[in-house]
């Protein structure tokens, strides 16, 4: 595969992208009020991590990180499942998935 051997010069950029993605995901998590979108933003952050891991994996020529990404995806899937079910349950209680409605617990 010729493509990969010349990829080195792009790795820095991928790192940059992943950092940016992480920040964007964080911004989304902070600003969006829809719980599902919020969950998506967190998925975005996880993907940023995945991208970074793959980048480093390519850099080190080491498969461990890619396995790690695989597990991250597993975890993300599990989290998404549980998260969505929590959202459903919460929706049943408050009839809303607006995160700002959930502020009975405070101070």
């Amino acid at each position: 595969m010729q493509v990969a051997s010349n990829i080195g010069s792009s790795l820095d950029f991928y790192l940059f992208v992943s950092i940016a993605l992480f920040a964007i995901g964080a911004i989304g998590a902070m600003t969006r009020k829809n719980m599902i979108v919020l969950l998506m933003c967190i998925e975005l952050m996880l993907n940023a991590v995945n991208l970074m891991l793959v980048t480093f994996s390519t850099f080190y020529g080491n498969g461990d990180a890619q396995i790690f990404v695989f597990f991250t995806m597993v975890v993300a899937a599990a989290e998404a499942t549980v998260g969505l079910s929590i959202i459903i349950m919460a929706y049943r209680n408050l009839k809303s998935i607006d995160i700002d409605m959930y502020n009975q617990l405070k101070n």
């Binding site: 991590v49 080190y60 080491n62 998260g83 919460a90 617990l105 405070k106």
Partner: protein
């Protein structure tokens, strides 16, 4: 590993038994699984008395696992009353707790960041669920939502840190990471930033400032039964993760992060205790107190050679669980400190357990809490003396809080109503109280 397998199997078994709504059988299976797991851990590694000579004690995972199992057992016993109310789901609850315990066990004996991360998620995900089991309660739902989102957010942060650390060292094996770091990669910002992100993730787990926000809300929203589990096991697992990762793997950059840790300690303790003063909800109060205690636990990081966190976390657990049990007695439905007034007069066991637990939390000898604190201070004082002194001043404020609670509970009511406690809670109370009392003989 044996413990995890045993727990997993008994968890699965519990699921099937639970389907038949056999509450007592489920309890027996769960407890049996835990005890077996503890035994397995016990026989795998030699038993050491920590603090035997104040030095060179590195927590043996076996010992921690036994503690985790023991605390979980108490939490299950204490919460059995609540769990058995849902006959449909009792098996689910117990198996979730057991799965979660698997995660905790994985967290405290890491050699690989990957397993470690998976363990953390196994620990967390069942708890996200458990927090939300009060389905009729909006507060419970809110707590679950908050815990889930902040938790997965923190997971992302932790993962990001792991990725960066991988970028610096090229490995997930803790030993390799340590040797690579020791080799001089600590000058690399990747490693440092990575460790900071990992720290953030851990600090979130134990709930210290500035990642403490989930604590009060989630504690308040969760049911007493779940709180017993999550306020103890999560903290134990979290602090051991920190101690292992930072105290062992990152110990070469000690001088770098210790200042940060000190700041976290001081902030957590002051914030936790001061804020706890003005709470009206018991679980919220316990949450703030746990924030402060998280700060105290972090003192274990001060001395990487010898981190004696074991006594403290066990004392903390043995004090927190009875308090929550008593809260369960005081507040069967709501969660208001007003109901604590005169609670000690309802039952002599409650009075004793309460006094012991609160004084233990306040760190008064000869109760376990004191020895926990002492062992922490012992190792931390030479390293970060000013932090320790500030921490002590903060714990004085903490004593205010506990004392307020105590005085409230001891206030003689106009009408004395006797109240009996279920057997399982009596057992849990007795065990914890005895454990707090006899700590002297284990040092």
């Amino acid at each position: 590993m044996d413990s995890i397998v045993i727990l997993f199997i008994s968890g699965l078994l519990g699921l099937f038994v639970g389907m038949r709504q056999q509450t007592l059988l489920s309890l027996i299976i769960a407890l049996g699984g835990i005890i077996l797991a503890a035994l397995a851990a016990f026989f795998r590694e030699a038993y050491h008395t920590p603090l035997a000579n104040y030095s060179n004690y590195i927590p043996t995972p076996a010992y921690v696992i036994i503690l985790l199992c023991f605390v979980t057992l108490l939490a299950i016993l204490g919460g059995y009353k609540r769990y058995s109310q849902d006959k449909d789901h009792i098996g689910d609850y117990f198996s979730l707790i057991l799965f979660s315990l698997c995660g905790a066990i994985m967290m405290v004996q890491p050699n690989d960041l990957m397993l470690f991360f998976i363990g953390l998620e196994i620990l967390s995900i069942p708890i996200y669920v458990l927090v939300g089991i009060e389905k009729g309660s909006a507060l419970s739902a809110e707590a679950a939502v908050k815990y889930f989102f902040t938790g997965s957010f923190a997971s992302a942060i932790l993962l990001f840190g792991i990725a960066l650390l991988y970028g610096a060292t090229g490995s997930f094996q803790l030993i390799e990471i340590q040797s690579n770091l020791a080799f001089g990669i600590w000058s690399s910002p990747l490693a440092i930033i990575g460790s900071l992100f990992i720290l953030a993730g851990f600090v979130f787990k134990i709930g210290a400032v500035p990642f403490h926000f989930w604590g009060p809300d989630v504690y308040q929203g969760a049911s007493n039964a779940v709180l017993m589990y999550m306020s103890t096991v999560v903290k134990i697992a979290g602090i051991y993760a920190i101690v292992n990762v930072f105290g062992q793997v990152f110990r070469d950059s000690y001088l770098f992060w210790i200042d940060l840790i000190s700041i976290i300690i001081v902030l957590s303790m002051f914030y936790g205790y001061i804020t706890a003063w003005k709470q009206n909800s018991f679980r919220r109060l316990i949450a703030y107190s746990s924030i402060a205690n998280a700060g105290l636990m972090l003192l274990a990081l001060a001395n990487t050679q010898n981190s004696n966190i074991f006594l403290f976390v066990s004392a903390y657990s043995f004090a927190t669980i009875p308090l929550i049990i008593i809260n369960n007695v005081a507040n069967s439905d709501d969660d208001d400190l007003k109901n604590w007034e005169g609670i000690a007069w309802k039952n002599p066991l409650i009075a004793i357990a309460l006094v012991v637990a609160l004084f233990s939390l306040a760190g008064i000898p000869p109760l376990a809490g004191f020895f926990g604190k002492f062992s922490l201070l012992w190792s931390a004082l030479p390293q970060i003396p000013y932090t320790v002194i500030l921490a002590l001043i903060a714990s004085l404020i903490g004593a205010f809080v506990y004392l307020k609670l105590l005085l409230l509970a001891l206030k003689k009511p106009s009408v004395q109503v006797k109240q009996s406690i279920p057997l399982d809670q009596i057992i849990a109370l007795l065990i914890t109280t005895m454990a707090s009392l006899v700590a002297l003989y284990f040092i």
